[in-house]
């Protein structure tokens, strides 16, 4: 069976997530993918053994709303996305401000870093 990756506008992510929270879904994971025109952020939620995938697109430099006030463990995933992809996420309940991952290269998967690498 093919999985559904539901695309929503990044402005409506909070209301989507609130609905899932009300329906007693739990957060499974959040991850970012660097794509040509920006980034995709994929949110996975679960209820029992079922899952729901919600995806948003964001442009480089655009800010995304944190969902950590709705799903508390989201702070970890959002800090990771910030530290590895350089995506700015507003309102993270426990914001490390770039200090969660102590990597040598800051935001190694961001467009800026990848473009610089190609330029070399």
């Amino acid at each position: 069976m093919e999985q559904e990756f539901r695309k929503v506008s990044h402005h409506s992510i909070l209301s989507e997530v609130e609905t899932l929270h009300e329906e007693r879904y739990r957060l499974i994971q959040i991850c970012a993918t660097t794509v040509k025109e920006g980034y995709e952020i994929l949110y996975t939620f679960g209820k029992g053994y079922d899952e729901v995938q919600v995806k948003i697109h964001t442009d480089p430099g655009e800010h995304v709303q944190s969902i950590s006030r709705i799903f508390p463990p989201a702070w970890l995933y959002e800090n990771e996305i910030h530290d590895l992809h350089g995506i700015e996420i507003d309102g993270i309940t426990l914001d490390f401000r770039g200090g969660l991952y102590r990597t040598k290269v800051k935001a190694p998967f961001s467009h800026e870093t990848l473009d610089n690498k190609e330029g070399k």
């Binding site: 499974i28 994971q29 993918t33 994929l42 508390p72 200090g99 990597t103």
Partner: protein, 359 residues
């Protein structure tokens, strides 16, 4: 009012085989806050998908971690197989199940040893690791590797494991079961051991769900959920129980892991009995195009493998959400309010795998 002080825990610490760092804010001997930081050995393996052929990436996925290597390879292959609509043969599915359960056994036994070491019971540590060697010997006989097996491939397995060899594992498993029963009795009944585990790091079922926990850490608080029940590989055809504990503390998590080893033995016995004859590999043609998220039960809990492909031999994205990563919020929660002396026990209680986390 007592004054606060901050002490670093890790990245180098006797109970940590791998580097993770916690800033512990203390009031006298009590931890009031724990702030984690990771990334000391981050390898960026996920980014190799844009440089390595999607079939070569199986080797990379297996090398994410030495303890969960089979699961990582399996998760990656399963995601690519879903995208390419590849039906793995039944025999390959049974062999994958057997190898996965042997991996779970050696991981859980390793953890029992590390926990014994953390609370200072060195003989128990040595005995559990002695038993673990027998599991590694079986894996070496079957695959040629003790840590990294390199037997998985997109479409099945690179080689078959003869039925005679599989049947030869059964008496070894019987021995392991018998010897392990003595150690498990000590873990679960010894007064000194219980004094270090009972009532330490208590999290209710509601709390572990809200904190996004997974694996034995989740089931140790009474939540009956195990991703093997999703029915991947041959788990649909095999009868096994989800081990849970309502103790909700480190003792409960120990109980779950100890008894899951016995469930793994039960699964392997059934799989060896039921395994059908046939091929272990199907031909793989073309390149993957699409995306898929595979969820499976690693020894430390549910792991997620997201693969996005674009129809070329290079993938666009591979993302691994490891169980240790998912359990970090719960770790920081259990550390709040604990005694400083209990910190090593609580860190080991999530069975931290930093290689996985620093993929």
């Amino acid at each position: 009012m007592s004054s606060r002080s901050v002490i670093p825990f890790g990245p180098q610490h006797p109970v940590l085989p791998e580097p993770i760092h916690l800033d512990l804010v203390l009031e006298d001997e009590k931890v009031v806050e724990a702030v984690p930081s990771i990334g000391f050995v981050h390898r960026g393996l996920e980014s190799l998908v844009t440089k390595k052929d999607f079939k070569e990436m199986v080797y990379v996925a297996e090398r994410i971690c030495g303890i969960c290597s089979f699961g990582h390879g399996f998760g990656y292959c399963d995601a690519v197989e879903h995208i390419m609509d590849i039906q793995v043969t039944e025999r390959a599915n049974y062999l994958r199940t057997i190898l996965f359960e042997l991996s779970r056994m050696h991981s859980h036994i390793l953890w029992l040893g590390l926990m014994a070491d953390a609370f200072g019971f060195e003989n128990l540590f040595m005995d559990t690791w002695r038993i673990r060697e027998k599991v590694l010997d079986m894996l070496e006989a079957a695959t040629g590797g003790r840590v990294i097996f390199s037997i998985l491939d997109v479409g099945g397995l690179r080689k078959d494991i003869p039925d005679d060899m599989l049947k030869g594992f059964l008496p070894v498993l019987k021995d392991i079961e018998k010897e392990l029963a003595v150690d498990i009795r000590t873990f679960l009944n010894d007064g000194a051991v219980k004094s270090r585990l009972c009532g330490v790091g208590v999290l209710s079922a509601e709390e572990v769900e809200n904190l996004g926990c997974c694996g034995p850490f989740l089931r140790g608080s009474g939540v009956k959920r195990d991703s093997r029940k999703l029915g991947y590989a041959a788990y649909d055809d095999i009868d096994f129980d989800i081990v849970t504990s309502t103790d909700c503390d480190t003792y409960g998590r120990t109980y779950v892991r100890a008894n899951e080893i016995l469930q793994s033995i039960r699964i392997i016995r059934q799989a060896v009995e039921k395994i059908p004859a046939g091929e272990v590999m199907v031909p793989v043609k073309g390149f993957p195009n699409g995306e898929h998220m595979t969820r499976l039960e690693q020894p430390r809990g549910e792991a997620c493998y997201y693969v996005k492909a674009n129809g070329t031999k290079f993938l666009e994205r591979m993302r691994v959400r490891t169980p240790t990563f998912a359990n970090i919020p719960a770790l920081t929660q259990t550390l709040q309010g604990c005694e400083l002396a209990d910190v090593p026990i609580l860190v080991v209680a999530i069975d931290p795998c930093i290689s996985c986390t620093e993929r």
